[in-house]
Symmetry: C2
Subunit: 565 residues, 2 copies
C-alpha cells in the first residue's frame, strides 16, 4: 500500500470530517461516497452496476447501504452529480428505507423523478433543484455545484466547503471546449478553487489508461454529418438516451440535410421530453415526426434516433435488426449508426445485431470503423489539467477499478502531488480530515454489494450463485425412490429425471444404466442395516457422480429423493 | 444478397470443382473448407471455436463434419495452414472418425503431433511435412504452400491448381516486412500467381474493419525493449504460446539487457521445445533457466515468459496473480507485460488479473496503455495489396463474421473486382467452378456446429442449453410428495427443496408458505377425482410459478415429483 498512510494521533474526535466511499473505488459503477462531520452526513451519488458474467440471473447490483441506515438520523441529504445509472440507479433502493432530501441539477432530477414515479416513491421524496454556481448548505458543509462536461447533460462536480478546507469532487467529467450551449466544464471555477486552496481533490479515474485528450465532440459531429450527407436512404442512429448533446447535434444535422427526426424507444422518448421541457434540446417546429408517420416520408428525409447501441435484446434497435419491430423494418438502403462505445461484456450482443443488420442489407457504421463516438471521461492530459487547476493538498482517485486508482495515483505523483498526500482509498475506508495532523485512512466500515434479482434485494449471494453456476454448466439429475417402511422393499422407482444435462434421446440409455447403478446399491444395503436411507442416499450421490464423470466427463448436480412411506 | 449469383446451366456435372466451407464463413473460428473434384476431395483446416456466452458449460465448439463422413471414400487429405486452434483444434474429432493423411508445415505438424498424442490418435495418422514452395498432388489438385506472416510461425497460404485455374487461399495472413528470419509473406510468389492468372482468391477477412496497415513487429519489439530497459525488477511477459516470433524478440531483448529467460506454463514449454527443435527459436547457450533456479538470480537478471494473457483461470499468470503459483510470487518491483490482444469476451477475466497484479504492487503493461502487441491479421491496405497482387477473376471473402465478409466484399469491389464476380458465400454453400459459365453458388449442404461438453460430442444442443440458462438464472424448486394408492391420503411430504434460488435462511419461510400452497391444492382435488395425480402436478406447477413470481419476481424451474405407492 505505497500511497496509504495511517492516522498517527492528535485531534481525533467528533468534529473531524470523514469521507467514506461506499462504492465505486475498486469497480466501475456503484458510485457512492459519504461525507460526515459531527452530527451530519450526506451522500454523493447512489449508483448501481450491471451484473458481471458470473452473477447468473442477477438484474442489478447495488452498494450495501447499511452504514446509512445505521446513521439515518445524521443523514441530511443525497447529492447527485449526474443522471447516469451508475450514479443514480440505486436511489430507489435507498429511498425505500430512508427519507432524505435529494439535490441535483435540473436534468438529473428530471430523470430521477421519472425513476421514482416508476418505483412509486415520489410521494415521500423531496427533490431540490440546484443550478451550477448555486450553493447549498448541509450542516457544516457548504456545497457548490460546478458544471462539468460529460456524456450526459447537466453533469456537475462539487466543491465542498468543510471546516478544514475545500474538498473538490469532480463527478464524471472531461474537458470539452467545443460542446453545445455552454455545457463546457467550468474551468475558471475549478481554477478559483485552486487559488483559494483545495484540501483534497477526488477525481474520476475511468479513462486514466488513455493517453492524450478526448477528441472533441465537434469532430464527432463532423464525422456524423459527413456520413449522413452521403446517405441516400434512411438513417438510423442508436445512442445512449441521456446523451442529449449528441441528440442536439443530430437534430442539427437533420435540419442541414432536410430530414425529419423520429425518436423511437421508451427511454429516449423520456429523455428527449425532459430535455426539451428544460430547454436543453431545441427541435425546430415541424421537424419531429411520430412513428406512424414515418412511412409518409421518402427514405432520404428521415433520421430515426433510437436506443439499443449496447445490444440490449429488447431495445428498439434489436427488434429492428431481428425483424420484430412493429413499425420499422430495416431496408437495404438504410444506414445504421451506433454512436456509442462497445462496453466490455456487451461486444457479442452488439456484433450480433450488426451482423443481423448486414443480413438485412443495411450499411452499419460503428466505433470500430468510424470516429462516431467520444468518451465522456477525461483522458490523461485532462486529468493532469484538473490536478493543475485545483492544486490540491491531498489527492484521492475515485471512480475506477483498482488498477485505474493506482495509475491515477501515479499520474498525480508525476504532477507534483507529494506521495504521502496521495491516498489510495478503497470502498469502506474511512478517511479523516482534522484540525491537525495529516489526512489519513483511520479505519474502515463494512461495505459490500447487494444483488437484485426480481423483487429480491440481497437474497441471492455467493452460495446461490455457486449453485446456479453448477446447474448452468453441468445440469442436474433427480432420483426418486420410495421404500416400504415396514418391509424395506422398493415400492416406487428409482425414477431418474435430468435437466440441462444431455439430449433426451441420449439421456435414455445413460439414465437406464444409472438406474441399474442405483438398484445395485439398494441390493448391497439390505433393510436391516441401520440408517439405511442415509447410506443409500450418500452412496447414490457418489456412485452417480463417478458414473456420469466416467461415461461423459460431466458432473451434474445429483439430487436423490429417497423416502420411506 | 447483392453479391451472390446462382448457376444458370451448362457444364454442370461430375468434373466441376466444388468449394464448400464447413465453417469460418459467418463466424470467427471453426475454419474448415472442402475442395472437391470428381472422386477426390480434401479439406483445408479443421478449426474449433471457444464457446459463446450462452453456451453454458460447453468446452469447445467444432464444425459439423457429416459431409466428410458421408464422402469418406473421396477424402484424400487434410491440409493445414497454421497451428492456431481455430485452424487445427477440431482435428482430433475428425481423425477419430476418418483416416486421411495430414499435410502441413513443420511447426504446424509439431503442434498437431503433440495434440494427437494427447488424444491417443498418433497410431493411425500419417503426418506429411510440406515446406513453403513445395508442391503436393491430391487427385486432380496441385497444391503449393506459400509462406505468409501471421502471429504464429510457419503460416502458409495455398495456391491450388485445379482443372479450371488456380484458386489462392490466403490462410490467416498479414504483410510484415520486418519480421524475424525470412518468415515474411512471400509477396513475389503471390504476384507470380497473379501474373499466371488466378481463378479465385479466398482471403482472410478478420481485420477488414481496421483501416491502414498493421504496425510492424519491429515497432512492437522496440516498445518492449524500451520497457524492459527501464525495469529494475523482474520482468514477466505473458503471450500466446505459439507466437514464436515474439518469443524470439524477447529472447534477444533478454540477451541485450543481460537477463536469463525462464519459460513457465505447459503450453509455452511445448511450443518452445518444438520451435527450438526445428531451429525456429534460437536461445544462446546458458541463457535459459529452469523454474527452480529462478531464485538464484537477482531480480533484474530474469525475464519470465509465460501464458495466461487471456485471463485463463488455470494459467501460470493467473496463479501468480492469485498468489497460488508454487514457485513464482509477484513482488512490488515486478513488471508484468501482457503482450497480446484483449479478445472480446475475455476482458473481465484479464482485467481481474491486472487488478490482482496491481494489488500485489506490480507494474502492469497491457495493450490499452502501450503498443506491445500487433494483430496477425491484415488490415485494409494489406487486404487491398493481396487483391492487387493476385488479380483474381473471382473473389470470396473467408474467415469472418457476416459483417466482415460483406465489408471485405465491398473492399474488393472498390479494388476493381467486378461485382458479379464477388461471391458472398456462407457455411454450407457449394460454389462450383466449371468449364463454362460463371462460378456460382449452385447448392448447399447441411452444416452446423457441434458442442463438446466433457466427453460428449453433440449431445448438448439448443434444448439442453435452454434448460441450463433457465436453471442458471432462476434456480429450481423440487416438490416431493407421496399418496397412498388405496386411500389417496398424503403419506409423505410435501417436501420442498430449492437450488440456486435464494439464501437458505430466506428460503425457509418462502418454502413454508409454498408448502401451504401445495396442501391447499391437494385439498381441492379429492381422491375420487380421475387423473388426480396429473391434475395435482399441473396445478402445483402453475400455482407455485405464480406464487414465486408474485412474492419475489422470479421464475424458478418447478419440478413436482408426486407419486402414488
Amino acid at each position: 500500500m505505497p500511497f496509504r498512510r495511517y492516522w498517527t494521533g492528535c485531534g481525533r474526535g467528533k468534529h473531524v470530517v470523514k469521507l467514506i466511499p461506499l462504492g465505486g473505488l475498486g469497480e466501475i459503477g456503484l458510485n457512492m461516497m459519504v461525507l460526515e462531520c459531527h452530527e451530519t452526513l450526506f451522500v454523493i451519488d447512489v449508483g448501481l452496476m450491471f451484473p458481471e458474467d458470473y452473477m447468473l440471473g442477477v438484474d442489478y447490483v447495488i452498494p450495501d447501504m447499511s452504514y446509512l441506515k445505521q446513521n439515518v438520523k445524521k443523514l441530511a441529504g443525497i447529492v447527485l452529480t449526474h443522471a447516469h445509472e451508475d450514479h443514480i440507479g440505486a436511489l430507489p433502493y435507498l429511498l425505500r428505507e430512508v427519507h432524505a432530501p435529494v439535490f441535483g441539477a435540473p436534468f438529473t432530477l428530471g430523470l430521477v423523478r421519472h425513476k421514482l414515479e416508476e418505483h412509486d416513491l415520489m410521494g415521500h421524496t423531496a427533490l431540490h433543484t440546484v443550478l451550477p454556481g448555486e450553493t447549498l448548505k448541509i450542516g457544516p458543509f457548504a456545497l457548490e455545484f460546478i458544471r462539468v462536461n460529460h456524456s450526459v447533460v447537466d453533469g456537475v462536480g462539487i466543491a465542498i466547503g468543510t471546516p478544514y478546507g475545500t474538498i473538490v469532487h469532480t463527478g464524471d467529467f472531461k474537458f470539452s471546449h467545443t460542446c453545445v450551449d455552454g455545457m463546457a466544464t467550468d474551468v475558471s471555477r475549478f481554477a478559483r478553487c485552486g487559488e483559494q486552496g483545495v484540501l483534497a481533490l477526488l477525481s474520476d479515474s475511468t479513462n486514466v489508461e488513455n493517453a492524450g485528450h478526448t477528441v472533441s465532440d465537434c469532430e464527432v459531429a463532423e464525422v456524423l454529418a459527413g456520413i449522413c450527407q452521403r446517405c441516400t436512404g434512411r438513417i438510423i442512429i442508436a445512442l445512449f438516451a441521456s446523451n442529449v448533446g449528441r441528440i442536439q447535434q443530430i437534430v442539427e444535422i437533420a435540419v442541414a440535410t432536410g430530414r425529419k427526426v423520429l425518436f423511437n424507444g421508451r427511454s429516449i422518448e423520456v429523455s428527449v421530453q425532459i430535455a426539451q421541457s428544460l430547454g436543453y434540446l431545441r427541435i425546430p417546429e415541424g421537424m419531429q415526426i411520430e412513428v406512424d408517420q414515418v412511412r409518409q416520408f421518402p427514405e432520404d428525409e428521415v433520421i430515426i434516433i433510437t436506443t439499443g447501441s449496447q445490444g440490449e435484446p429488447m431495445s428498439a434497435l434489436a427488434r429492428m435488426a431481428a425483424g420484430t419491430h412493429r413499425q420499422i423494418k430495416i431496408m437495404p438502403e438504410d444506414t445504421v449508426i451506433l454512436s456509442s462505445k462497445f462496453i466490455p461484456g456487451n461486444e457479442r450482443a452488439i456484433t450480433n445485431i450488426i451482423n443481423d443488420l448486414y443480413r438485412c442489407g443495411a450499411t452499419v457504421v460503428y466505433e470500430k470503423i468510424a470516429r462516431i463516438h467520444v468518451s465522456g471521461h477525461a483522458f490523461q492530459e485532462e486529468l493532469k489539467m484538473m490536478i493543475r487547476l485545483t492544486r490540491p493538498r491531498y489527492f484521492i482517485p475515485i471512480h475506477g477499478e483498482y488498477r485505474h486508482l493506482v495509475q491515477h495515483a501515479r499520474l498525480a505523483e508525476q504532477e507534483g502531488i507529494a506521495k504521502e498526500n496521495i491516498l489510495l482509498v478503497q470502498n469502506g475506508d474511512m478517511v479523516t480530515f482534522g484540525p491537525c495532523e495529516a489526512a489519513a485512512v483511520t479505519g474502515s466500515i463494512m461495505t459490500g454489494r447487494l444483488l437484485i434479482d426480481g423483487k429480491g434485494v440481497g437474497d441471492v449471494g455467493r452460495s446461490v450463485l455457486k449453485e446456479r453456476r453448477l446447474l448452468s454448466e453441468e445440469g442436474m439429475v433427480v432420483i426418486n425412490m420410495a421404500f416400504d417402511e415396514e418391509t424395506g422393499v422398493v415400492i416406487y422407482g428409482p425414477d431418474l429425471v435430468s435437466k440441462g444435462f444431455v439430449f433426451e434421446t441420449e439421456t435414455g440409455h445413460l439414465l437406464d444404466d444409472a438406474q441399474c447403478v442405483v438398484l445395485e446399491i439398494v441390493e448391497d444395503v439390505p433393510p436391516e442395516v441401520p440408517n439405511r436411507l442415509e447410506i443409500i442416499r450418500s452412496r447414490v450421490q457418489s456412485a452417480l457422480r463417478q458414473y456420469f464423470f466416467f461415461t461423459i466427463g460431466r458432473r451434474p448436480l445429483i439430487m436423490p429423493f429417497i423416502i420411506e412411506v
